[in-house]
Symmetry: none
Subunit: 118 residues, 2 copies
DNA sequence: TTCGTATATGCCTTGACATGTATATGCCAT
DNA sequence: ATGGCATATACATGTCAAGGCATATACGAA
């Protein structure tokens, strides 16, 4: 579990990241929003924290978790090598994007779809 | 193993994708270049093919594999929601910095968006 | 046909990881 | 201090994927 790729391979962890993109959340808010048990939420947050995807601050008995951009930027950097390749295939790509209703995945937790404009 | 995230979680598969970004390769070239056994290469290529990352054409007894952009573009689309976060974050930081030194005129140079530390 | 090459697949073992239950730790209020 | 809430962790369990090895399939050449 060292690479950022393995971290985001888990759907619940991606859901947590998507949830935190708007604002910071406590563990309880996360577990309720995403309908996971408390230990599950804590464990995934631990993984995300150790990988640098999130950080937490203490607020009384709660921990507030918020997003950190660096690991996701690392992912973005890996993707960069393929962008030049895409430009060669824009036509096919455009057709695909028109077909694709770009949401996160088909995971159960609440998701706020990021609509895509043409 | 449905999601693109799980597909690229495997280091050998990422290596294959990076290899194919330049040009198409046969299975034999891939296994030699990346030092994996032939069944391992074939199995990873099968996963990549079924997920739409690569496609193959037949050349005599060989199969030539080449990259397809769509799944990687899907990954890029997922990342988009966080790029907005980076921008907002940097903007907020800049506003904060602007507020902190409101003594002089406010023509600050643009900041690089890739740095942030706690 | 038979042989040799290139690639795919089936079986099996191993190990990693996600989850549930239970319990521990930490913090506030009384 | 005691109780209650919020979060973290330990342990046991089930699942699943990756790799090794053997074998199957496909194709070309002779």
């Amino acid at each position: 579990m060292e690479s950022v790729f393995e971290i985001i391979a888990e759907p619940n962890r991606r859901a947590i990241l998507s949830l935190l993109v708007s604002r910071e959340h406590s563990v309880g808010e996360i577990e309720r929003q995403l309908r996971m048990t408390q230990p599950t939420a804590s464990k995934h947050l631990r993984v995300l924290r150790q990988a640098g995807f999130v950080e937490s601050t203490v607020d009384a008995q709660r921990r507030l978790y918020r997003l950190k951009p660096e690991p996701l930027q690392e992912l973005d950097a890996w993707l960069a090598q393929f962008r030049r390749f895409w430009s060669v295939h824009v036509d096919a790509l455009e057709r695909h994007l028109d077909r694709m209703d770009m949401n996160t995945d088909k995971d159960q937790p609440k998701k706020k779809p990021t609509r895509r404009k043409k």
